[in-house]
Symmetry: none
Subunit: 182 residues, 4 copies
DNA sequence: TATGAATGAGCGTTCATTCAT
DNA sequence: GATGAATGAACGCTCATTCAT
């Protein structure tokens, strides 16, 4: 592990905690403690818990999109589609609570009257994936992207709810691949 | 309107409120006020906020399953499948926050070490729908039921997040129908 | 001392503390502790610190006006004027911080966008005293009431600032009496 | 505008802010930002927020006394008295929050056990004005100065509280002039 | 001289739950 | 059955001040 600066220590601790438990059960004091800094330092870098959570989310998605694009570099056709499906299912298996956290932060933005913060973020996510599917030769890529995104979020939730016992990941990947091809 | 007894007044008020806003932003005081009873009365009938929420969820799903079965009585084949899809999309359009509430209560159960409360509930939901799909001639009904449930939950969340602007409901119904048939 | 109910215990403790030190240096926890109740109980009776302070102020002024009117019952002419002056100077000597508290609560009302709460309160104070002065035969009673109110508030502040060493109360009463007569 | 040095930029920003809102709602961070310097620089020049506020107050009053003396240079008798009244009412109309600020800083000094800081300051203010009134031929100049100071502070506060609707400035000046002459 | 990162105590307020009546 | 008074822990956030650079 390399030495992180304070801001990154806070972001890392927050990312960990928000991946473990709900937004409203994660206190800023807890985040600060896990980061090994004071509450004051946290508020020095982030004006509010909401803004910290938003940065965490942006960080997670940017990292995911970056990794996705790297993976897709030398792939074409079905391999490209399978790579997207793989990447999405990694979200399910590695960050199953991401969908929940996504929703929580979105609701917080509504409560604070910052709903507009969101459109851009949400648009970026859908825009990137839809472009990829289109290039991979998927028919109706916009509609399929919406369907795919919803399906992945839903599967993540149910995976979470069932403790992973609800479905076999490889089987489900195959189903999703067929949907994209069909 | 018929006169409801105290317990039912509380359940109705809680159902309304949990359909409007998150579990953690709905206080028991608010539920009691909406029901027109005292907080004491609420705790007389329900040992905790969690248990009340669980009863609300059971009530919602039982009512939905009951309505679904009534609808399916005289239908066969594709009409049956379409009726299931219609019923699921009504959850999305009429109770878009149900998925979120579902998730919240589940997490509360984990926090309280009552995760076991859930298996039965979740199993009942999937069991019913899987049976219906099987009777309607859907191939691989168990796996398709899981996929369908996840997809509907995911669409509900995204419908909520996008303020309904993300997809056209009828188009998406058609996609889902094709998935079930494929 | 008779046994007070919880609400009155809170009001009494708050009145004491707000008379001792500034609004912003008096915490609700401190008020609750002095009253011998929990913070929760305080918020059970008063929706906010501001509203509690407002009730304290209303209580102080109502009590003062009541005592004033009782005193004036059987007096006429100059005796009436002297009684008003006496009552006002009692505010200075017994509750020298009242003016400061008055201002603090007023500013809080502005901050909370509740400025309207105030007009009624302020009007009641001026209305009562102006009516009394008019009946006592003072010329230009409205203008004199304003002047008198300002003078008393100012004297209270300076009395406070100087630790009581700035002026002799009886001498100053005489000056004020002359102003009202002039 | 001439270029100010850092210390004066801080003093100017603090003077502005303390004239706009209460001492306890004005943070040192806000002062530093308005001055365009760092918090560190602020604490380099002033050992505490309290000491900065005290310097602000001294600056305001010194400037006021200086302007007053300039104005009075070639005046005698009633014109002198009227000039003093004019200058005092300018405090009310142009810096209505000065009295409040005065009080706040005084209380802060008490809290910090620096009450002695104050006697000198307060004495200088009263001393100057009393000397002027005496030279203008006012009877009982010390007592009248106390009364005048209190009246002006009180009027400033009520002017503030009423949003300027409580009294007509010119009418009130006339009243005050009569009091000084009487 | 000047910076701004970092501290940590303190604030007003919310809330599920208990219990005497 | 039903009330609502009372609890107390927890929360997000602010702030004057210190200090290494």
């Amino acid at each position: 592990m390399k030495e992180l600066n304070t801001r990154d220590k806070i972001l890392r601790a927050a990312t960990e905690l928000f991946s473990e438990k709900p937004y409203h059960e994660t206190s800023v004091g807890e985040i600060a403690k896990r980061a090994g800094v004071s509450k004051g330092a946290l508020f020095h870098y982030f004006p509010s818990k909401y803004e910290l959570a938003r940065q965490v989310l942006l960080g997670i998605l940017d990292a995911w999109l970056k990794r996705l694009n790297e993976r897709l570099k030398n792939l074409t056709g079905d391999a490209k589609i399978r790579a997207v499906v793989d990447a999405l299912f990694e979200l399910i298996t590695e960050s199953p609570k991401l969908s929940r956290f996504f929703l929580e932060v979105y609701e917080e933005s509504l409560r604070l009257g910052r709903g507009a913060d969101w459109d851009e973020f949400y648009g970026r996510y859908l825009g990137s994936v839809s472009e990829i599917l289109k290039n991979a030769g998927v028919a109706n890529p916009e509609r399929k992207t919406v369907l795919l995104g919803a399906l992945v979020d839903g599967l993540a939730l149910h995976h979470l709810l069932s403790g992973g016992r609800l479905f076999n990941v490889e089987d489900m990947k195959e189903e999703v691949f067929r949907i994209l091809k069909g």
